[in-house]
Amino acid sequence: MISQRVNYIINYFKVALLNIKSNITGNLFAFAIMSFSYFIMLFFLLCYVNIYNYMRLFQKNNIMIVFLKNGAKKDNVINYIKTIKGIKNIHYYSHKSSLKFLEGKVNHIRSILKGVNPDFLPSFIKIRFKKDAISKIFLSNIYLRIKTFKGVSIVYYNKLLEDKIVQFMFFTKVIGLIIFIFLFILSIFISYSAIKLVILRKQTEIEILKLIGATNSYIRIPMFIEGEIGTILSFFLSVLLLFLIFKTFIYYHFSDFLAYFHINIIFLSGWQIFLIFIIALVSGFLGTYLSSKKFFYEPAI
């Protein structure tokens, strides 16, 4: 019984390989089309991951600056701020360091600030928030609370930017998801067409096999094997391709340049690749299933 099963399995693989061999061009096309589809998928994921990564940078920059009135008690203010949740760190800048800050901002006309009296400049507190604690409501809330505190002159934070970033992050997520679902369906569709290209040639073969008493699984299992071999190979080809392109990119120092814009390029993680691999497997399976379905529809007699 078990040896019989093994015989069947060996036979299925033999038939699958025979099929691949006897329609090598068809299989190569299917292979190439699928590679392309997975490549596009991986490429989009790579772009998405990098855009997402880049945008987290903006989030990290969420800073609030509290200018103090002349003669205000800085310790009171600092202690009050410390009671607020979600703060990463607080930094106090005295009049003097304020001047330094200004000099840093307008570096090329630095010389002319030399005559400025530090007391002209305000003292202020810079608050840096934790990434995950930032949401629109949160920051505007805090803004209102600090603004009304005694000794505080102006509270400054980039409200517009914050709104936009929250909104953009949201859209990025939604669009990312939509594109992903779209690509998933697309990859099934492409596997479907590609495998159909291979299977169509077998229509007569399938009919004949059924006529001489082959069961559906006898006919179908080699097809699934054939489909999955194509899927797996084309998946690895596409990962390899993407990786080589990525490496070339790094090699020619494009990433250095992008780093200049604070864009830091990263490759896909193992998990992300694995995710696409699963999608590839599923789409290979569904592709085979769908494209061979009509041959196995048997009206009850």
């Binding site: 073969e205 059924k210 069961t215 009850a300 007699i301």
Partner: protein, 212 residues
């Protein structure tokens, strides 16, 4: 063993067969005859559940074919060898592989295949062509491959649709003798033909479906 009861068959309202009735006993050898387009092929196809009668019932051993579930059809077909009028060979497999398929679909693998295929190919005088592909065979050679594939399953019933249509008299005789020898070993044979010579050679019960 096989019973046709009041079988009618129509395609788009045109009745091809009307009230066809006949029995075939186990081990019998019968001819089905009738002119071109009479419905010989259709009759045989109904036996392997490839066509469905419009009315009436067909019984094979104990099975009423109209009650057969789709998943049981392959098992019915393994009991019945079928030589198709248009051969139905796989063009991407050699003669040997085509014949071997008759066994492989039933889950038989290994050395026994080589032995049986060799034997049957010698019987139909095609062993020298075992590694050729069907497209490089003559019409008569393809027909003999089809016969070999049907016989290798050692079926309970052999249905042969015009199995000598492309064969000259001598080769026809070899084939008929081969089929007869299977018949003598207990295989029921139903042979559809309009070749009067063949019927004369076969000397067996003849059912003329036009008269049904």
């Amino acid at each position: 063993m096989i019973e046709f009861n009041h079988v009618y068959k129509s395609y788009d309202k045109n009745y091809i067969l009307r009230d066809l009735n006949f029995n075939v006993n186990k081990g019998e050898f019968i001819f089905i005859t009738g002119p071109s387009g009479a419905g010989k092929t259709t009759t045989l196809k109904m036996l392997i559940a490839l066509e469905k009668p419009t009315h009436g019932t067909i019984k094979f051993i104990d099975t009423e074919l109209q009650n057969l579930k789709p998943k049981d059809i392959p098992f019915l077909r393994r009991k019945i060898g079928f030589v198709f009028q248009d051969f139905k060979l796989l063009s991407n497999r050699t003669v040997f592989q085509n014949v071997a398929l008759g066994l492989e679909v039933s889950g038989i693998f290994g050395d026994v295949i080589v032995k049986n295929v060799t034997e049957i190919l010698k019987a139909v005088e095609l062993f020298v062509k075992k590694d050729e592909y069907p497209l490089s065979l003559s019409g008569g050679e393809q027909q003999r491959v089809a016969i070999a594939r049907a016989l290798i399953q050692n079926p309970q019933v052999l249905l042969a649709d015009e199995p000598t249509g492309n064969l000259d008299e001598d080769t026809s005789r070899i084939i008929i003798d081969l089929i007869k020898s299977f018949n003598n070993k207990g295989t029921t044979v139903i042979l559809a033909t309009h070749d009067k010579n063949l019927i004369r050679m076969g000397r067996a019960r003849t059912i003329d479906i036009t008269k049904s």
